[in-house]
């Protein structure tokens, strides 16, 4: 069964309040060597069937229709081992 992973993050320059708070939290715990934190979403999708090309095209469509907010978010797609 083909599996793919969509990683969604705020575009560079778009404010990420959650990342900021997590960063502060890590600093408070003494993890001062962290320089930057971005928090995003990961969506794992299991498909019944399909080639990588088919699935990639399908995911692009899903992302533009629904999964991703193109105004503030960027996404990347990875394929997971079967």
């Amino acid at each position: 069964m083909p599996r793919a992973r969509v990683l969604i993050q705020n575009k560079p320059g778009v404010f990420d309040p959650e990342g900021k708070v997590v960063h502060t939290g890590l600093e408070r715990l003494g993890h001062g060597q962290v320089d930057q934190v971005r928090v995003g979403k990961v969506i794992d999708l299991h498909f019944e069937s399909g080639t990588r090309e088919e699935i990639a095209a399908e995911i692009d469509q899903m992302c533009s229709e629904f999964l991703v907010n193109p105004v503030i978010e960027d996404y990347t797609v990875e394929f997971l081992d079967e």
């Binding site: 309040p17 959650e18 708070v21 997590v22 939290g25 715990l29």
Partner: protein
């Protein structure tokens, strides 16, 4: 009998709890800042609702690191009564003072409405004046009140009489259709084994005055006062 209301950055029901204790219950109460390590001589600790640290990452996840939580844990270990309401409940779960974890409501939306609750145990200092099986109606207001615990954990809660409130019908029937958020076994509130630490999603402080539509929630605050005199 003195109350402490813990304030985390982002708590927003702290003032509400303070109001109910000071003005309605007419009992002494003080705010305790999250960085404090002293409960100012309080006999009962309230962890209020709200969005500590914006609820970013996970509800209660960042609040649990506040210095005050060590003090609260110690207070609880000595048998002191602690009530975590809504976000306060989430903080108690994150700190491990209560078992389980919170997931998002199945609707994925915030839900604010009245919800009937069945009191499942009267052994806590906050429910000692209710009847076992009694139905009270309190407001709920949360996006993440979908309580999760695995099967073994649930069995343990049951065996140890740790379920305090369950979502139910007006007549007290506990069934999935009366579950607003998807929580395991309709759980709305639980306590630790000893019964002195209670966490609940519904807001008793919002139903403590008739002018707001109900004073059924006041019973919880009165009960803890009674339990300590």
């Amino acid at each position: 009998m003195k109350f402490a209301v813990v304030v985390f950055p982002g708590s927003n029901c702290d003032r509400d709890c303070f109001h109910v204790v000071s003005r309605v219950l007419d009992a002494p109460v003080e705010y305790v800042w999250h960085r404090d390590t002293d409960l100012k001589g309080a006999d009962c600790v309230l962890l209020p609702g709200g969005f500590s640290y914006g609820d970013y990452l996970r509800t209660g996840a960042i609040a649990k690191m506040s210095p005050v939580m060590d003090t609260v844990a110690e207070f609880a270990a000595n048998g002191g009564p602690v009530l975590g309401i809504c976000n306060g409940f989430q903080v108690l779960l994150e700190t491990g003072l209560l078992p389980g974890a919170m997931l998002r409501n199945t609707s994925l939306t915030f839900i604010c409405k009245d919800s009937p609750l069945r009191c499942a145990t009267t052994r806590t200092p906050f429910t000692s004046t209710l009847e076992q099986g009694e139905v009270i109606t309190l407001p709920i207001a949360h996006a993440e009140g979908n309580y999760f615990i695995d099967e073994d954990g649930l069995a343990e809660l049951r065996d140890n009489d740790q379920i305090v409130f369950e979502y139910c019908s007006k007549d007290g029937e506990v069934a999935p259709e009366f579950n607003p958020n998807g929580s395991v076994a309709n759980i709305a509130g639980i306590c630790n084994r000893e019964g002195n630490v209670v966490g609940m999603m519904p807001h008793p402080e919002r139903a403590a005055e008739a002018v707001l539509g109900s004073d059924e929630g006041l019973a919880l605050f009165k009960a803890v006062v009674d339990s300590l005199v």
